[in-house]
Structure formats: C-alpha cells, structure tokens
C-alpha cells in the first residue's frame, strides 16, 4: 500500500463538518418529533371503531416498512411539487423521516398499548376520568415506558437514516462530507471522519435517551 494519508483537507473542513452535524441533529430531532406524533396518532386511529380507518393505518405501516427509505424520500421529493407544494430539501427530508419513523413507531407503541391491562382502563373510567385522561395517564404513559427501549433504538436508527437525505441534497453531515470529498478527492479520510462523527452523535443521543428515561419514566411515578 503506497498511499500517504492526508487529513489536512478534512481538518480544514472540520467547521463545515460540525455544522453538518448540527444539520443532521436538526433533521433527526424534528424527524423524531414528527414520528412520535404520527406514532401516537396512528395508534389511536388503529383502535378506531371505523374499520376503514384501522385498515388505512395497517396499509400505511406495511407499505412504509416494506419499501426502502431512499424510494420513499425520492417519491415525496417528486410528488409534493405535483400537488403544488414546494418545500426545500431539508423540510422534505424531515417529512420523509417522520413518515418513515412514524410507521415503525405505530407498531412499537401499539405493542405497548396492548400490554396495558384492560381492567386498568375500566378502573379509570369507573373513577370518572374522561376518555382523554384515561388514554393519556393510564394507557399512553405506561405504554411508552414499556416500549421506551425499542422506541429509542428505533430513533437512533432514524438518526442514522438521515444520511440518506443527502440523496435529495438536504443540508446534513453526509452531503457536507460529499462536498468536501469532491473538492479534495480525499475520499477515505473524509468519509472515515464523517463515520466517526456519526458514531459520536449516536452515542450522544443514547446518553440523552438514558437521561430522559431516568428523568421521566423512573418509578415511583411522579
């Protein structure tokens, strides 16, 4: 191997790369928020008394979980302008990430909701809590606690998936890396450093989730 490594261009581009990290975190955190909202909404619809709504949710989940994210993000990217919606690539990427993560979140949260004992719901209603209160306090929070580990590891996956948003040139770490690579031809060095930055970010998010877990989901219930 007669190759001399040259990390100079990567070090020069480090500030850009760190801004790229910020872009990635922005995509990831917004995507997570949207995914959580879709997940909770989807679970509510999934239990609806109207069969058509239930089937719609099932079809959505199956369609998203069995097709590649790259196809989904391209589809949204090309489909939105046709219905007259023009968004910048970053917003498009957030929608795609939220829709994709939402489908997984529906399945995960549904598992947690199913684990709630029916007697608890009946007890809540007997104590004249409103349906919304029962859902929020007796169903949703314990369900989220039960599925917290799988939900957060899904969110870490979502964070890693943001790198695919570079395909529609959203502003995030991978696309910043690609720009530096095209300018310097130091492909291996650039992508090696970018990979380590992703590793650092997923590690950081894992720590953050652990903190949230200790703060919000620890017993005794606050």
């Amino acid at each position: 191997m007669n190759y001399t490594f040259d990390f100079g261009p990567v070090l020069d581009g480090l500030p850009d790369l760190l801004w790229g990290c910020a872009g990635t975190l922005q995509l990831a955190l917004s995507g997570m928020g949207l995914a959580l909202a879709i997940g909770i909404g989807g679970v509510v619809l999934r239990q609806s008394r109207i069969a058509a709504l239930r089937w719609l949710v099932i079809a959505f989940v199956e369609a998203i979980r069995n097709t590649p994210f790259l196809g989904q993000i391209y589809f949204i990217f090309f489909a939105l302008p046709l219905v007259g919606v023009r968004l910048d690539p970053t917003l498009t990427a957030i929608i795609a990430l939220g829709v994709n993560g939402g489908a997984y979140a529906i399945e995960i949260i549904r598992g947690g909701v199913q684990s709630i004992n029916k007697g608890q719901v009946e007890a809540g209603l007997a104590l004249s809590l409103s349906r919304a209160q029962v859902f929020r306090l007796i169903v949703l929070k314990p369900a989220l606690r039960a599925v917290y580990p799988s939900l957060t590891s899904q969110f870490i996956m979502l964070t890693l998936t943001t790198s695919i948003a570079s395909a529609i040139s959203a502003y995030e770490l991978t696309s910043v890396g690609q720009t530096i690579e095209t300018n310097t031809f130091r492909s291996f060095e650039v992508y090696g450093v970018v990979t380590l930055l992703y590793l650092a970010m997923s590690w950081m998010l894992m720590r953050m989730f652990a903190l949230i877990d200790a703060r919000c989901f620890s017993y005794p219930v606050k």
């Binding site: 199956e62 979980r65 097709t67 196809g71 589809f75 870490i156 992508y191 990979t195 992703y198 590793l199």
Partner: protein, 213 residues
C-alpha cells in the same frame, strides 16, 4: 414506460436480489463467527466483537459502504463495484446478525448447556447439536426482520453508483420524466419481495408467543 425500460428495471431487480443474497449468506457466516466469539467467554475476543458491532450499529449503512468502497481501493485492490459493495453489505450483515444470534444463544436455557457438559459433549458438539438449533428457532423472527432491512438497504448501493433496482429506477425516470410512475413501480417491486417475508416473520413471532405462554 416502454418494454425496454421495464426490462432494464428487471435487470436492476436481479442485482438487488443478488446483492441481498450475497450479503445475507456471507454475512450469516460472519455473523455466526461473531456470535460464537461474543459468547466464547474469552474477554479480549468478546471486547473486539462488541466494538465491531457497536461501530456498525452506530454508523449509517451509507457511510459503511463509502468507507469500504474507498478503503479497498486505497489498499490497492482493484475490485469490481459489485464486489466492493458486497463486502460492505457483508460486514454490515455480520455485525447485525452477530448481535441477533448472540442474544438468541444467551436465551437458550442454561440447563441445556449444563446438561450437555454433564454428558461430556465437547464444545463443537454442544454448540452444533444442542445450543445452535434452539438458538436458531428463537432468532428466526429477528433474523427475517433483518433480512428485510438488508434487502431495503441494498438500495443504498445506488448512491455509491451501482446499478441495482433503485438506480435503474432513477435512470429510467430521468429518461421518460415520469418519476412517480417509475418510483411507484420500483417501490412496488421492493414491497413484493419484502412483504411476504415480513408476514412470515410476524407469523413465526405470534406462534412462538403462543408456545411460550
């Protein structure tokens, strides 16, 4: 979309299936090695494998493909694109399958291993005849779930510049300016492969949940 373009997509589909098959089969061999190393009781070996798994589970598949692709070129290996990409998928699959199967091996009741030891079975026979068959059953739903992930993941080879189904789709849609039709068809093809697998995995999971009750 004319006949020629459709056949081009089918040609891409073949590569998607080939990449998935290579990644899964060779990755399974690697994953088995990783799982056995992770449960070997040898400290250094276990740490190394844990680091390998953490690296591949904590970074995007796309970056893994890039690094392997350019890394192999740097090492002076002149490989076809499909070989480089296959190596990338294999390393990825090895880490994920290794972690899934480690969990499965550890989920086999301890009494089984102790009984095998009491019957003075050696390590090879203990693993081959007692532990792994049971671990395989336990891990099957998760393994199928990962296979679906891997098939969808092969679409990232398109970004590296390899013409599989997804890239074939973008090439065709650049020719006929019907991106929604072509991408819809491409996604439908992925769905047709992945959905039956997902259903099978879910069915196995339900059956095992009933058996465990």
């Amino acid at each position: 979309m004319d006949r020629k373009q459709f056949l081009f997509l089918i040609g891409g589909l073949k590569w998607t299936l080939a990449l998935s098959a290579i990644g899964f089969v060779v990755g399974s061999v690697a994953g088995l090695g990783v799982a056995l190393a992770r449960t070997s009781g040898h400290r250094g070996l276990e740490r190394c494998m844990a680091a390998y798994i953490a690296l591949f589970q904590g970074t995007p598949l796309l970056m893994q493909l890039f690094v392997v692709y350019y890394g192999l070129a740097l090492a002076g290996l002149k490989l076809d694109a499909w070989v480089s990409v296959s190596i990338g998928f294999t390393l990825h699959a090895g880490a994920f399958l290794g972690e899934i199967w480690r969990g499965a091996i550890e989920a086999v009741p301890k009494g089984q291993v102790e009984a095998a030891k009491a019957l003075s079975l050696d390590y090879v026979s203990r693993m081959r005849d007692v532990v792994l068959p049971q671990a395989l059953r336990i891990s099957l739903p998760a393994t199928i779930g990962f296979l679906v992930q891997l098939i969808k993941g092969t679409s990232l080879a398109a970004i590296v510049g390899f013409t599989e189904l997804m890239r074939a789709g973008t090439i065709v849609s650049n020719q006929n300016f019907k991106p929604l039709l072509v991408l819809g068809l491409v996604c439908a093809l992925y769905f047709a492969i992945c959905w039956p697998l997902s259903l099978y995995g879910a069915q196995l999971e339900r059956r095992m949940a009933v058996a465990a009750r």
